[in-house]
Each structure stands twice: as structure tokens, then as C-alpha cells.
């Protein structure tokens, strides 16, 4: 296979700090609320409430103006209680809650959920689908419809966690949509490769395989998480290898998905103004990956083995400030 360096025509490791400086939204007193980003997380169910909170609060801590969460009725009061900064919509339903209903009534509830999300859709700069979503079939069916509507409205979608479970089984949801970003971990990536390319993952040709996968799904962007993060949209492949932390506490992937959502929104807003001319989804992934790593490293310096995801979130602001100061 062709060498990745010659394929991309640039060095493989991304110049992540420069990317961050280039795309980060300029703070300007003349701007109004919303212009620095409006993000929505679709996730949070009876079982999981921490993950959507981590994604949504990370978006705000990086500099987004508004962060919404669309979750189940059970999850909403808990997610609201984590922070008054989030706007939490208790609208999704799980099967157990509608088990006695006729098909017609279930469809009616689905339509209402979809109408509720649609009211907001055009205002969002990016959706994050998956943190704490769970795998309830009825809920996932609703979320599939939400994704179709987002796509019709050209709203970018970052997909993680159980969102990847959904997409791996229904690849058409993202296939050919260049504003979709998938952020699989080792196991999620294996399943994607098996499903789409019908082969096994091997470490030797990692960037080439990733690039083939992204191309095969019609130019979506994939951020493959690992010791180094690898990013490809099918045209180009980049790595981010900045040292983060050896802590592997759950929830760091949620920070990443929220961060990528904000950065890719900023990169899209800059449009052709970026000198690198790279795909904004790739720029968003590079910046999100690098920021998480910086913040994790900073948190670990202080908290060591005790480092938890909330500690890393507290370091997002300082990490970004170190690289591109607000004023």
C-alpha cells in the first residue's frame, strides 16, 4: 500500500496547536449569544446520565455559548442537577415506559419526539449522538430519525458510544454524509471495520485501513482513539500523539465528543479562511483530540491516580488558554 505521508502530501502528525489557533472562535464584544456555538447532545437514559453531562459541559467549558441535552424523562432531572448551565430536554422514551401501548400510539409518541427536536434543529451548529444513549430499540429508532433530520438540515453529527452501535448496524445513516464524525475506541473500531470492510484490524497499516474505511463510508470523518489518535476523512490521514495521561477512567470519550463538536463548528464558521484548507471535520477532530490530551496531562500532574473525568474537564479552559490566549 502507498505510504501515508506521500498520500497526504504533508507530514503525518498534525500540527495540532496551530490548528487550534487557526480555528478557535475569536472573542469579540460585538458578538451575540450563540455565535460561539450551540451544541446539542442526544443521550442520557435510565442507566446513563454522566456521559451526556460530560459531553455537554465540556462544550461550554471550551467556549460554546449554549449546550443542550435531549434525554429520557428519567435521566433529565439527574442531568439537570449536575449543572444549571445546561438546557436539558426530557423527551426521549425507552421501551419499558411504553410497553403497554399499541403500535399506533408508539408511532404517535415518536412523531412528537421528532417534532420537539425539529423545533430546535436548525439552531444547532452540531449534534453529538451517543453519550449515555443506551441500546433500547425504541429509543434508537427515534434517534435514527433525529439523525436523518439533522442530515436534511446539514447539521454536523459527532457519533460516539452507543451511537456507534446504532450506526455500525445501520451504516446508511451516515454513509455519504461528509458532516458525520465517528469517534470509535479500539473495540468500536474493530466492529466498524468488520462490518464495513469485512476484514480484521491490524496495527501495521493502521492509517491506510482507516483511510479506506472513511472512504468506504462515503467520506465521513473517523477519529480512531488509541495511544495516538488517528483521523481520516478518506482523503487525508493525520495523527495526534501529544502525550495525555495514563489514567483510563470512564468518561474521557465524552469530553472528546463534546470538544470535537465545538471545534468543528468553529472550523466550519471560518470556512475558507483557514490556511490549511483542510476539511473542517478533520480540523475539529485534530483540535478536540489535542485539547483532551493537554487537559488530561494537566489534570494528571495534579491528581495522579485520583484523576477523574471531572478533573480533566476543569483543565479544558486552561489548556486552551495556554495554546491560544483569549485576548
Amino acid at each position: 500500500m502507498q505510504d501515508i505521508r506521500s498520500m497526504s502530501g504533508t507530514t503525518f502528525e498534525a500540527d495540532a496547536e496551530n490548528v487550534m489557533r487557526e480555528i478557535t472562535s475569536v472573542l469579540d464584544p460585538s458578538k451575540h449569544k450563540g455565535q460561539a456555538g450551540k451544541i446539542a447532545v442526544i443521550g442520557g437514559c435510565r442507566e446513563y446520565t454522566g456521559a451526556p453531562y460530560f459531553a455537554a459541559i465540556s462544550a461550554l467549558k471550551i467556549g460554546a455559548d449554549l449546550s443542550h441535552v435531549f434525554c429520557t424523562k428519567d435521566a433529565a432531572p439527574v442531568i439537570k442537577s449536575y449543572s444549571p448551565e445546561l438546557i436539558v430536554h426530557p423527551i426521549l422514551e425507552e421501551s419499558y415506559n411504553i410497553s403497554g401501548l399499541e403500535d399506533e400510539e408508539r408511532r404517535c409518541i415518536s412523531s412528537k419526539i421528532l417534532a420537539e427536536v425539529d423545533k430546535w434543529m436548525e439552531r444547532f451548529d452540531c449534534l453529538v449522538v451517543g453519550p449515555g444513549l443506551g441500546r433500547d430499540p425504541y429509543l434508537l429508532e427515534c434517534v435514527s430519525e433525529i439523525m436523518k433530520h439533522a442530515r436534511q438540515s446539514n447539521v454536523p453529527i459527532v457519533i460516539d458510544g452507543d451511537g456507534l452501535f446504532l450506526v455500525t448496524n445501520s451504516i446508511a445513516l451516515v454513509s455519504g454524509y461528509p458532516l458525520a464524525v465517528l469517534t470509535p475506541n479500539v473495540n468500536e473500531y474493530k466492529r466498524l471495520v468488520q462490518k464495513v470492510l469485512n476484514c480484521e484490524v491490524n496495527d501495521r497499516d493502521a492509517p491506510e485501513l482507516l483511510q479506506s474505511l472513511a472512504k468506504q463510508i462515503g467520506g465521513v470523518t473517523i477519529l480512531q482513539k488509541g495511544k495516538s489518535d488517528l483521523i481520516s476523512d478518506g482523503e487525508i490521514a493525520k495523527s495526534v500523539s501529544i502525550y495525555g495521561s495514563p489514567r483510563r477512567c470512564g468518561g474521557q470519550g465524552d469530553i472528546l465528543s463534546g470538544s470535537v463538536a465545538v471545534f468543528l463548528s468553529w472550523a466550519r464558521a471560518k470556512g475558507k479562511a483557514t490556511t490549511s484548507q483542510m476539511n473542517p471535520t478533520v480540523l475539529g477532530c485534530i483540535a478536540g483530540s489535542a485539547l483532551l490530551r493537554k487537559a488530561a496531562s494537566l489534570a494528571f500532574k495534579d491528581k495522579k491516580r485520583s484523576t477523574l473525568t471531572t478533573d480533566i474537564i476543569e483543565c479544558l479552559g486552561r489548556s486552551l488558554e495556554d495554546i491560544c490566549p483569549a485576548c
Copy 2:
């Protein structure tokens, strides 16, 4: 009775700091999420929500990657709201909530609860049974079944609080299971001794009695909490006498059970690699006891009479770092 020093062939007081250094999981960037420990706490009911939180969050603060809580539906939103870092499953039921149901329906609910826990069981490195469990008969029956399944899957079980009430009345649940750890306080210990050995506790031959008790229950490990903690698996007896704090605020036992769960998981993972060749459950108890004492002492220095369990939890990281630095 034989002197304990000659029985064990080593000094009686454990070299706790060395044990901690020996078993604590090495942080390594190539590891992935879960490899530093996945713990589950079974506890939390309408009445108690703090205890399972203390146990589960302590596990994370020491360095576990994932910490779950399986509790009643009432307790879940509250425990979730304490921290987004925990994964809380609202699945257990108490009698008052199913009082109108037929036996058949009650059995059906039990089966569902058990199936829900079973989905996760093999992923856990250790269960902690008891913090905030309560004594509802229906709930305890379900928990007995969960313990049987854990045992079939060779998952270690640390038993504290109302879990000890359950086990003291149904000793067969742990009898002959070398991966069971009981952590009784003075009164819980008295009841255990009366039930199993049919005698009274006396302070003179404390280690010998403890050793007999552990042997009689078929080689479970017992951590007898007191001014000094005594630990025995029936073969060996060790004490941990590091000075802690004179504060006796509720909840410290929950920190201990969560800590022992993490350390014994680490000790098991190291297996024969530990030079001491001691039973990993004993090593886990020694490390957990010593860490709690160090953290309590640190918290007390700062907060004096005001010291609460949350203050001690905040000192777990620094206490571990002082003894075995992360890098």
C-alpha cells in the same frame, strides 16, 4: 493457644506500605479503559444512598477505571446526582413496592433483576455487597442470588454492612469461597463469632479467634475493624495499626470496602508476581486498611472535629501518591 507470631511464621504487623507498593496497578499509556479495575457496589435503597456512593467513588479515587452501583429505583436518581462519574443501575426492588403482587410475579421480577446484573457480571473485577443495602427481605433474597452468580463466575465479593447481616444468617453464601472478604465492625464481628463458633469474643486471643473463624467459614478472608485492624484468611493473621484518626463519623467503612475491592483486584491481577506470595484477598485488606488510615489521618489534620467521610475520600489520592508515586 499457639502464639500468632509463630503460627504465621512472620511478624504480626503487616508491612502495609510495601504491600501497597507491590500490588498497586502500574499506570501505562498502552493500557485501555477497564484494565485498572471495574468495580460494582450492590447497595442503596429507599433509606440509604450515601454508603454505596462512598464505596463506589472511593474505588475511582484510588485508581479504578469504572465504578458501578446496583441499587433500588428510589435510590438511583439520588446516587447519580452525587457524581456523574458513577454508573448507577436502578434495578433492585424492596417489598413495599411489590406488596400487591402474586408470588409468580415477584419471582418474575427477581429473575429480571438477576438477568440485568448477569449481563454485567463477567466484566467486574470485584463486587462490594452491603453498603446501604438495608434489610428488606425481598431485596436480600435477590442479593443472595446475585452473590451465588458472582461465585459461579469467580468474581471476588467484599461484604460489609447489611451484607454482613445477610451472610451471618446464611453463612453458606460465602462458606468455602476463598474470594469472599468480610469486613465486620465490633458488633458485626460478635454476631459472626456467636453464629459460627458459638462462643463469645474476648480480646486476649483476638488473632487466634479470628483465624479460627476464617478457617471455620472455609477460608474466607476477614478484616476485623478496630483500634488495630486484624486480617486473616484462616492460614495467616496480620494486623494494621497505622494511626488513623479519632473521628468516627459514619461512612468510613464504605471507603474501606471500596478500597479493598480495588486493591484485591490489583493483587489478583499481579498473581504470582507479588514477592510476598500472600493471598491476594489478604493483601487487598492490608492495603485498603492502611490507605483508609492514612487518608483519615491526613483529613483530620486539616478538618479536626469537622472531618467527614467526603473529606477523607478527598485525601485518598494524596495518601496513595505519598506511598507509591504514579510516575
